[in-house]
């Protein structure tokens, strides 16, 4: 079947088997390997992307369900030359080690900031409980999300 969608601002049309997951479409059909797969039960959040502006675990959604949708992946939010404030905060706060959970963590964090008028440490911890990191113990991730949130808000205002 054919799926037509916008990925990172670019119109794409992809022929996929009906049982193809959105994450498979992104990784295998479009070569966007920044979105990772860390589990098979939609628990770890490594595959988190934005669909129509909201964070979604892309392993838990069929590609067909993303027909006509706007999808944003980690590759679409910033580049090495122009990092998104949340990407910059993750680096500045040493919020990543092996980097495998990081794309999903950043995408969740951006969504969390966009949907939370106020964020404190407890709210960040609660908001990220759908994303597993095995390396950092979350301490620096929480710091990064608060730092990134402040920068996102200051840019928006």
């Amino acid at each position: 079947m054919n799926v037509t969608l916008t990925v990172n601002g670019e119109a794409r049309s992809v022929d996929v088997a009906p049982n193809t997951l959105l994450v498979e479409l992104l990784r295998n059909h479009l070569g966007l390997s920044g979105t990772h797969v860390g589990c098979d039960t939609s628990q770890c959040g490594a595959c988190t992307v934005h669909v129509n502006g909201a964070s979604v675990k892309s392993c838990t959604m069929l590609a067909a369900q993303a027909d006509d949708a706007e999808v944003t992946t980690i590759e679409g939010i910033g580049s090495p030359e122009r990092l998104h404030p949340m990407q910059a905060a993750f680096r500045e706060c040493h919020a990543l080690q092996c980097g495998f959970c990081t794309p999903g963590m950043i995408m969740s964090a951006i969504d969390l900031v966009n949907n939370s008028p106020q964020l404190d440490e407890a709210a960040v911890r609660h908001g990220l409980e759908g994303n597993i990191c095995r390396c950092t113990g979350y301490h620096n991730i929480v710091r990064a999300v608060l730092t990134g949130a402040a920068e996102m808000r200051s840019r928006a205002s």
Partner: protein
């Protein structure tokens, strides 16, 4: 200190690719013509393979082949070896069952692979695997390690399912110590089985090139050269010069990616058999079933004390679950990495430990972050705290009375190790200050007034890192040397490419090692590139585990850098018309002592490659040096971790009010990275204490086989951590470093469990201290 040199919190070089989705993990790679593997895995804990009928599978569109252990054996592939020979106390060698990469006759744990389906797509491979009809004859399985020696014999060559009965220490002296003790504290504890769960599942792509009969294996390895060595020397896949192993970006390891596994071996072999690249990426369920697990000890310990609270002797008896086979380093973990650490930070004069390593029909158990040392710390720090409570001595005071003092170093323990340096009171005192120990009674009273229980727990740990002096390790049974290699290749324009045999899978070597070389050579850090993880580019190496990378791999780079400087001095001396002994090197400049004549590092590098004015009759052109560094001793990171918990007795929920870690890692290259390592280690230690437990049911089915059943620490399970350091420089490596990767996982469980038992007023709660267990303990049930 420069902004990017040794001691600076340089932001990581590798981060830019990770935060922008440009990392290159094994599953991100694809090869032209690649096909896919799906493994056939045993549904039983122990079962004879009667028949594998692949007719249905071969009818599935896209399926190319169904291969079994018999096919592999027919191709002459050997068993997966265990790399450390442990001897029993009677002098006999450990017993080990044969471990074919794919089971041939009998499967011995749920999830053990016995065959593989190769197909054009992942979906076809999985459908093909479902269509294989395998007839099994189920056999009686052994699941409980505690009962293993009395259970059905699993292997004909392993009586009582015991691989070894290992001992260390002076039994007679220890018995004498107990005979004159004023007090004996006894403790029975278990160290719960853990499943490592690096977030990137294992993956591999085998590529066979028929034109020169060579293999390339892309895989999620912490030590690609070791993989190559084992696959070549033992499995007989290919000679080393015909086998390249590449471990690209690897998404965490924690020990679980040290080992040489069946699946990676199989895809490499299958690529030759099929004539196309073969790719496999584990599903998380496969990781749970077939990654090597960690810990799983049952221990009885006794501590003898005199009337003043001085430790006289420690007696420990442990049953260690090895799982169904001896994984790559499994035998060493509950022995040389465990028994040797039982002195802890204390002057206990007599120690005797006995370990029964037993087989069960469960996944193999091997090194997991800390590997033996968390188990040792858990025994020592739990029993010391218990003794303090029994004797009604402040646990800090009891520890102080028994600490090895700075004047005692080097200190020979009764369990083989010689500690080079340390200052245990310094880290204890700092930790007490950071947790505001004197304010604890008031905080406890406040908790009690709110109907809560509050406890504080200590863990004064020590670990042995920087594995290891090769002579010592091989004398104790190691099958490989434990040095590390490094190469510093100065390019003609003065930039530097650094090759290390250690491997980064989250540790940040591309930054830390660049800091070392940049600092020593005075070359800007952005002009230093660190290369690792490819046997085709790096001469040799033993990889990353046991917190060894900077202590051993960094020291190798120091040696290589020293050679570069020494050669540079000769070049500069010639060009500046002086003697090498008269040349000083500082911050990137070679200068003639007491003169104004000098050359920059870049000028010397250029001269080395364009040798027009150059001592060609004495010196080869080029400026590239290699070094192997073999450590003289282990390093001994140590410190104090303190946990303060509050418990709701109505729900059994434990919340961590504060967690303080003060560690002595010797000198620190990058404090930011070191703090991150401590945070991550603590998180895994708290995970062990409160959340994580790998559980098999009585038939040997893994009932914690997904993230829905196995409780991983999540952001809202953990507090912020208060982390600090004290410093005694390691005395025997050129950087003065000790290693920081495992401290948190080693120290945290005892601190948390001491805090919980303090809060409730009970002797023990089993890990993980789930709300149910805590609730029951609060009610004396």
């Amino acid at each position: 200190m420069s902004a990017t040199g040794i001691g600076a919190s340089v932001r990581r070089v590798e981060d830019v690719r990770f935060i922008t989705g440009r990392g290159r993990y094994t599953d991100d790679m694809n090869q032209p013509g690649q096909v896919y593997a799906a493994f056939l895995r045993s549904p039983y804990a122990r079962a004879r393979i009667v028949d594998v009928d692949d007719a249905g599978a071969m009818e599935v569109e896209g399926v190319l082949a169904v291969l079994t252990g018999r096919d592999m054996a027919a191709d002459g592939l050997g068993d997966l070896p265990c790399g450390w020979l442990v001897k029993s106390k009677d002098g006999s060698d450990m017993r080990q069952p044969p471990h074919p990469p794919l089971a041939v006759e009998v499967c011995n744990y749920v999830g053990e692979p016995y065959g593989v389906v190769i197909a054009a797509t992942i979906a076809a491979a999985r459908e093909g695997a479902d269509a294989v009809m395998t007839e099994f004859e189920e056999l009686e399985a052994v699941v409980s390690a505690a009962d293993a020696t009395k259970s059905t014999q699993i292997y004909a060559n392993v009586p009582a399912n015991r691989s070894y009965q290992w001992e260390l220490g002076d039994k007679a002296a220890t018995d004498q110590a107990f005979a004159r003790a004023a007090h004996v504290t006894k403790l029975d504890i278990t160290n719960n089985r853990l499943i490592p769960n690096a977030l990137e599942p294992r993956a591999a792509i085998g590529v066979y090139d028929a034109s020169n009969e060579s293999f390339t294996l892309y895989t999620t390895s912490q030590n690609p050269h070791l993989a190559r060595l084992v696959l070549s020397a033992f499995v007989k896949l290919a000679p080393e010069h015909k086998l390249r192993v590449v471990a690209p970006d690897v998404g965490g390891g924690f020990g679980s990616k040290i080992f040489i596994y069946p699946e990676e071996t199989t895809v490499a072999w299958a690529s030759r058999r099929i004539g196309r690249p073969v790719k496999w990426t584990a599903e998380r369920s496969e990781s749970f079933l077939a990654d090597a697990h960690g810990r799983d000890h049952v221990t009885h310990a006794e501590l003898a004390l005199d009337a003043q609270g001085h430790f006289l002797g420690l007696r420990v008896k442990t049953i260690a679950n090895l799982g169904a086979y001896l994984s790559t380093f499994a035998s060493s973990v509950p022995t040389f990495l465990y028994g040797t650490l039982l002195a802890g930070q204390y002057r206990t004069p007599a120690i005797h430990v006995e370990v029964d390593g037993v087989f069960t029909n469960t996944a193999p158990v091997d090194a997991y972050r800390g590997a033996g040392r968390p188990e040792a710390t858990y025994v020592v720090e739990r029993i010391v705290e218990t003794a303090a409570r029994e004797l009604k001595i402040d646990p800090m005071e009891l520890r102080r009375r028994n600490f090895i003092q700075p004047k005692d170093f080097p200190y020979q323990t009764p369990v083989a190790l010689v500690y080079d340096t340390g200052d245990y009171e310094a880290s204890l005192n700092k930790a007490l200050e950071l947790i505001d120990y004197s304010g604890f009674p008031a905080r406890r009273a406040a908790s009690v007034s709110r109907g809560r229980k509050r406890g504080i727990g200590f863990s004064c740990y020590i670990e042995a890192c920087g594995l290891a002096p090769s002579k010592l390790a091989t004398a104790l049974g190691a099958g490989v040397g434990l040095y590390e290699s490094g190469e510093v290749r100065v390019n003609p324009t003065g930039s530097v490419t650094v090759f290390t045999g250690s491997h980064s899978h989250g540790q940040g070597h591309e930054t830390t090692f660049a800091q070392i070389v940049s600092d020593r050579l005075g070359v800007p850090i952005e002009n230093v590139e660190v290369v690792h993880g490819d046997t085709g580019r790096i001469e040799f190496g033993l990889g990353t585990y046991g917190s060894r990378s900077v202590a051993v791999g960094g020291s190798a780079l120091m040696k290589a850098t020293d050679k570069v400087i020494a050669k540079g001095k000769k070049i500069a001396a010639y060009m500046l018309e002086s003697e090498a002994g008269n040349i000083d090197f500082d911050t990137g400049v070679f200068s003639v002592r007491a003169s104004n004549r000098s050359m920059t590092f870049g000028e010397v590098a250029f001269a080395a490659y364009v040798p027009s004015n150059y001592p060609l009759d004495e010196l080869e052109p080029g400026l590239s040096e290699k070094a192997f560094y073999d450590p003289q001793n282990f390093t001994f990171p140590a410190g104090t971790h303190i946990a303060e918990v509050e418990i709701d007795p109505d729900t059994g929920v434990v919340s961590i009010a504060n967690f303080v870690a003060v560690d002595d890692f010797g000198k620190v290259i990058n404090p930011m990275i070191v703090e991150g390592q401590v945070h991550g280690g603590i998180a895994q230690g708290i995970g062990q204490a409160l959340l994580e437990h790998g559980i098999y049911d009585e038939t040997g089915q893994l009932i914690t086989g997904s993230f829905m059943d196995y409780c991983m620490p999540r952001a809202d399970d953990l507090p912020n951590f208060t982390v600090d350091t004290t410093v005694t420089a390691c005395t025997h490596n050129p950087l003065g470093v000790k290693g920081c990767g495992e401290a948190g996982a080693i120290a945290a469980p005892a601190a948390i469990m001491n805090a919980i038992t303090d809060a409730i007023g009970v002797k023990d709660v089993a890990m993980p201290a789930t709300p149910e267990r805590v609730w029951r303990a609060c009610r004396g049930k």
